[in-house]
């Protein structure tokens, strides 16, 4: 194997090798980097801006339906989208361990570029660091993102009222199952991560339904159950949902059963949950379902008892019993029994 096929500490040293590395392996993918000054200069149109950041690690780096590059772009883009913003600019920081194969690095960078194009955002500033091999397994990506608020959108938990409808934009849990299946060599051939940008879908909902959309969030770590608990706390309300209405791909359901996991707690990377005024819920659902990326959207329940001192999520089970759906205690792992 060629000696220059791997990342070395010199690639992150700030010397000539590092400059070459950035020019050859990063700059061609990201025209938004421009002149490579010390900071990017942005020209917002004058609307309020939303600003967020997130860091990403995943094992394995490539999984069915996605990879760490797509995760890093969509994770930040989606956080902006559920805040009611149209994502525009991203930063990208890559922390790589020495010894990482360069073609793996290149593949991730290409994936970041493709995902950014898909989401309509421009990577305008970046950084790479190389750390000693012992310090990191795989890769760490960080993105920060800036977007402009969509006019007419007014997202605030304080506006949530009893009888508001709760909509989820598509089937839940596929991302985490795809990653776990790959990690444990189960190769679920019909499960792909749901990893995708939701800015288009969420933007259309927010744009069309305006103030009727009261709250949005993407159910990443901890899954749907965790986001609904966050909603209950934010709105000081009881959230009532029905198990039978939650969209769930049968393959994800059965794979969860094999691994001993509860799909309601599995991370999604391309879904959002929205609270919508009852008067607009049917219209909103219809609009979502007209788009291919919203075809699986479903109304899963309602907000009740706003002002409650005991916020909680209640799940009406398929057996007709009603139980409390709690926060995730810790990451789920394959179990023995």
């Amino acid at each position: 194997m060629r000696q220059d096929a791997f990342i070395t500490l010199a690639h992150g040293s700030g010397g000539r090798l590092a400059a070459e590395f950035i020019q050859r392996r990063l700059a061609p993918f990201f025209p938004g980097l421009g002149e490579m000054d010390d900071a990017a200069v942005l020209r917002p149109t004058g609307r309020d801006i939303a600003f967020t950041t997130d860091s990403f690690v995943v094992d394995p780096l490539f999984f069915p339906g996605g990879d760490i590059g797509r995760l890093a772009v969509f994770g930040t883009v989606n956080d902006l989208a559920v805040q009611g913003a149209k994502p525009s600019w991203l930063s990208l920081a890559v922390v790589a361990p020495e010894g990482l194969p360069l073609d793996l690095f290149d593949a991730v960078v290409a994936s970041v570029a493709a995902a950014a194009a898909e989401a309509g955002v421009s990577v305008v500033t970046g950084d790479t660091k190389v750390v000693e091999r012992s310090g990191l397994n795989g890769l760490l990506l960080n993105t920060a993102g800036i977007g402009e608020m969509i006019p007419g959108v007014d997202l605030s938990a304080a506006r949530i009222a009893s009888d508001d409808a709760i909509i989820v934009s598509g089937p839940v849990g596929a991302h985490e199952i795809a990653v776990l299946g790959q990690r444990h060599g189960l190769g679920f051939d019909n499960i792909q991560s749901d990893c995708a940008q939701i800015a288009g879908l969420a933007g259309e909902l927010a744009g069309e339904c305006g103030a009727a959309v009261k709250w949005m969030r993407d159910p990443t770590r901890g899954g749907l159950a965790t986001v609904l608990n966050e909603l209950a706390v934010a709105a000081k309300a009881t959230i009532d949902i029905s198990e039978g209405l939650i969209p769930l791909d049968p393959a994800v359901r059965d794979a969860s059963e094999i691994l001993g996991l509860d799909p309601l707690y599995l991370a999604c990377e391309g879904r959002f949950v929205a609270v919508i005024a009852r008067s607009h819920s049917e219209e909103a659902l219809k609009r979502l379902r007209l788009r291919p990326d919203g075809a699986g959207a479903a109304l899963i329940g309602a907000v009740t008892d706003v002002g409650s001192r005991h916020p909680q999520v209640r799940l009406l089970t398929g057996f007709g019993s009603r139980r409390i759906l709690r926060y995730l205690a810790s990451d789920q792992q394959p179990r023995i029994c």
Binding site: F188, D189, F319, Q333, R335, C337
Partner: protein
């Protein structure tokens, strides 16, 4: 309708077999399966799959028939409603009865389906010791942590062991301090790590008779491959001796016996317990309908005064179980006395590697000894595991002891009685 997260034994329909390796379809997904323990299996058969291994060829007609009910919400609810009515009739005028569901998977299924709330008032379900993670004594967990921290081996484990508290920390915290610990779905993955060479790989072998044959198969495979860097830290426990010990101390009116343990050992394995303690036993499947049918069978037995073993889960369990799975256990392990959290030392209730497989014994290889360690202060897991207390009886339950900050093991494992009681509590209103 199926209860999700039910249990790690799932029926799979075989799609292909090539030697020991093949694939089975579990509902809508295909998974790789090792058929070492079921050489008679053929494509189209249903097998019970646990941790990547087929444990037994099931009664395919019965499975197909059962799946038809479980996959239909309407059919399940109709059947459940019929059974609730039947239970009310049976329990009418009966003195209070205490039935124990031995297996943690049953505990979770009961909680998830909200069964307790709809049972007749005089029928009480008590959770038993059937949670492997819960009954593993602190000393054995400390031993695994000590080995992992020493850096002498890479420890490989099922996910539910990571957060069980040891005396000073859990395996998760040990990992934070640099210990190499991998979580796997199947012990085959540990074997694959060992095959790569270059480091010692130790599998943390907890579990009952369901898991023991899988570990036995892996140890036999390691022996056949001549691997000299693979070993297992054996903490297996056996169910029938524990039931015998438990019934000597507690008074119960019936046992719901574990379905997947019984798939391996057969329903006849409870004959001794039933006769000795004059108690009816029913081996049950894991769907809510299965559990309700089993309760009805136990109430009927109570009415007629008959003690003995009945088999509700005939689609998976036979009289003698899975011959090759049992044989694999016998080939690789001897029985030994074992410590159980909450139940103390029970004669012949544990497994240890036979002399010819002694080189795979991680405890001997790394000179580890389990020391007795005190239970966490205030924790009543011991009483809960033996059916003497219910989770809400513990002062720590839901207060100092929560799934995110567990004090005792019954709150850690998702099959633990405390976790099930906490996570699946009935909502008011």
């Amino acid at each position: 309708m199926k209860v999700k997260t039910v249990c790690l034994g799932v029926p799979g329909k075989i799609e292909s077999i090539d030697g020991d390796i093949g694939a089975a379809r579990v509902g809508a997904v295909a998974v790789p399966v090792n058929f070492m323990l079921t050489p008679e299996a053929r494509p189209g058969d249903f097998v019970l799959v646990h941790a990547g291994f087929a444990l037994k060829v099931m009664d395919s007609d019965a499975v197909a028939e059962a799946l038809e009910i479980f996959e239909s919400v309407a059919a399940t609810r109709v059947r459940m409603d019929e059974l609730y009515i039947r239970l009310d009739e049976l329990a009418k005028g009966m003195p209070a009865v205490a039935l124990m569901e031995v297996c943690g998977t049953h505990t979770v299924a009961i909680a998830r389906a909200g069964i307790k709330a709809r049972l007749p008032k005089n029928v009480n379900l008590i959770s038993g010791p059937g949670c492997p993670v819960c009954v593993t004594p602190v000393g054995e967990i400390d031993m695994a942590i000590e080995l992992a921290l020493s850096g002498r081996a890479r420890l490989v484990s099922f996910g539910d062991m990571l957060r069980v508290p040891g005396s000073n920390m859990n395996l998760d915290a040990a990992r934070g301090r640099g210990a190499r610990i991998d979580i796997v779905y199947s012990p085959r993955q540990a074997l694959a790590l060992a095959e790569r060479g270059g480091e010692e790989v130790v599998f943390l072998a907890v579990g009952f008779e369901t898991t023991a044959p899988v570990i036995a198969a892996v140890v036999k495979a390691a022996a056949a491959m001549g691997l000299d860097n693979f070993s297992v830290l054996v903490s297996h426990r056996l169910i029938p001796p524990a039931l015998d010990a438990l019934l000597s101390a507690a008074s119960l009116d019936g046992l719901i016996c574990p379905g997947h343990v019984s798939t391996v050992i057969g329903w006849a394995a409870y004959d001794g317990v039933a006769r000795e303690h004059k108690i009816p036993c029913v081996v049950a499947g894991f769907e809510p309908v299965d559990i309700l049918e089993s309760i009805a069978m136990l109430l009927e037995a109570r009415k007629t005064g008959l003690a003995g073993v009945a088999n509700q889960y005939s689609r998976s369990v036979s009289r003698w179980g899975s011959p090759l799975a049992r044989q694999a256990i016998d080939e690789v392990f001897d029985v030994a006395d074992g410590d159980w959290r909450g139940l103390g030392t029970i004669k012949d209730s544990a497994l240890r590697l036979r002399p010819e497989f002694a080189r795979f014994d991680a405890a001997a290889r790394f000179r580890l000894r389990a020391r007795r360690a005190p239970e966490p202060e205030g924790c009543r897991c011991g009483e809960i595991l033996s059916g003497r207390s219910a989770p809400p009886d513990c002062r720590l339950f839901g207060a100092a002891c929560l799934p995110e900050r567990p004090v005792g093991p019954c709150m850690v494992s998702s099959e633990g009685a405390c976790s099930a009681a906490y996570l699946y509590s009935e909502a008011a209103g």
